[in-house]
């Protein structure tokens, strides 16, 4: 199986590659359009800031490539937000694959970024197969994607937001499966099995 991790300026690529290696997969780390198009699975990781990441993707034509993919794609954290229509982070127009807007946590009494292990619930198959409701996953983010018809897991931190979304060939998770211990490993296994 050919698994490509998208190489760009906001990827936590080492962590994702390490976890895939532990699952017996040697990912190809690439920003080449043809390599992405001919892969079986694409993982789109991300930590960092939305507008600079989008600029980087557009400058290299990766926005067009990502929108054209038909095989299973998994966006992680910022990757999830970049798959959305837009983000409140520096008013960024994103890829528009998921019909949502990433919103800023209002703060108030809550610490922002939302950082640490939080429970998720309302879990749907097949991505969450084998995972019990109220399992903990590791989150680090200052923006969140609202809930909607395509939400396949929710998390509550002040607001209730989408912990995961599934739309057509796209899966997206707000938490970091590569940093979420055994449960996170299971999510990646489930994705690779799609």
């Amino acid at each position: 199986m050919k698994v490509v991790v998208v190489k760009y300026n906001a990827g936590n690529i080492a962590s994702v590659a390490n976890t895939l290696n532990r699952l017996g997969v040697e990912p190809i780390i690439s920003d080449d359009a043809e390599t992405l198009r001919t892969s079986d699975k694409v993982i789109f990781p991300g930590v960092g800031e939305a507008s600079s990441a989008m600029n980087y993707l557009r400058e290299r034509g990766l926005d067009v490539v990502l929108k054209s993919l038909t095989q299973p794609v998994m966006g992680i954290c910022l990757g999830m937000q970049l798959l959305c229509a837009s983000s409140e982070e520096n008013e960024t127009e994103c890829l528009g694959i998921l019909p949502y807007r990433a919103r800023k946590f209002p703060g108030g009494g809550l610490k922002v970024p939302h950082m640490g292990w939080n429970t998720v619930s309302d879990l749907q198959q097949p991505l969450f197969e084998g995972i019990a409701s109220e399992e903990y996953f590791y989150f680090v983010h200052g923006y969140y994607v609202e809930t909607g018809k395509q939400t396949i897991a929710i998390c509550t931190y002040g607001e209730t937001f989408s912990a995961a979304i599934h739309h057509a060939n796209c899966y997206a998770v707000q938490f970091h499966p590569e940093k979420s211990g055994i449960a996170g490993k299971r999510i990646l296994e489930n994705f690779l099995r799609l």
Partner: protein
């Protein structure tokens, strides 16, 4: 619910884990890779790995260890010690660190916090502050506690957050290694002063100490070294204890 985090800390010198008291009197505490794997398996929520090597050879060994540990654990991993440029940060993230902890270099050059946040995102910038109680409040120390600065700890932390730090690792030098309990008042004051998470460090001796700093001290996470390294407190039993005390923890 968001869980409070329990974080073992590995101070590494020339490839070995060490631990002292009040920042001096180092003792060997084992192989860092073995300890990291064991803590990850026992349910640690995160690991902090600090390089206290004095030599360049020691630093190279450290970078190698960071990569080795990152390949073996699947929980968040913060590294620090001797970081003085955005280039240093990029190199550590490239070998698999998730966050970096900046201490003395941020005091000498506050713009480093800004540069780090801009280049890599606030979520990976941990401002580490070593504070010592003086007659006129809590003073920031640098160079592993060897050099006093003019900075007031709370004021410096507020500034650090404005510059882009995404988390604070607050160590009380007075409490460090004593096992007499965390510094509750300072931790609570800092936690209430800034909007980012606070990791309390220094002084863990009993399971009650952890409950105290997470509840009364309002810390988001508690970090300790010797009680874990020497087997005085096991992470699973600590988490069961905290849960019984009504603290949200990941079990």
């Amino acid at each position: 619910m968001l869980a409070k985090r329990i974080i073992p800390c590995l101070d590494v010198k020339d490839g070995r884990t060490v631990k002292g008291t009040n920042f001096v009197g180092l003792r060997d505490a084992g192989d860092p890779v073995e300890l990291a794997e064991s803590y990850s398996a026992q349910g640690a929520d995160e690991l902090v790995f600090l390089d206290i090597s004095a030599t360049n050879d020691g630093r190279k060994t450290f970078a190698g260890l960071v990569g080795e540990i990152a390949r073996k654990i699947n929980i968040p991993f913060t590294v620090g010690g001797g970081i003085s440029s955005a280039g240093d940060i990029g190199a550590l993230l490239d070998v698999g660190a998730d966050k970096v902890s900046i201490n003395s270099a941020a005091v000498r050059q506050p713009a480093l916090i800004e540069a780090a946040a801009r280049n890599f995102g606030s979520q990976c910038v941990v401002l580490a502050v070593d504070a010592k109680r003086t007659s006129d409040g809590w003073r920031v120390y640098m160079n592993g506690g060897r050099i006093a600065t003019e900075l007031d700890a709370v004021a410096w932390i507020k500034r650090g957050v404005e510059l882009g730090a995404g988390e604070i690792l607050l160590t009380s030098m007075n409490a460090d290694g004593t096992r007499d309990g965390f510094e509750l008042e300072l931790t609570r004051e800092v936690s209430e002063s800034v909007s980012v998470p606070i990791i309390a460090s220094g002084g863990a001796g009993s399971m009650d100490d952890f409950a105290d700093v997470l509840v009364r001290g309002k810390a988001d996470a508690a970090l300790a070294a010797s009680v874990f390294h020497y087997g005085q407190i096991g992470i699973p039993e600590l988490k069961s204890f905290l849960k019984m005390r009504g603290v949200e923890v990941r079990i």
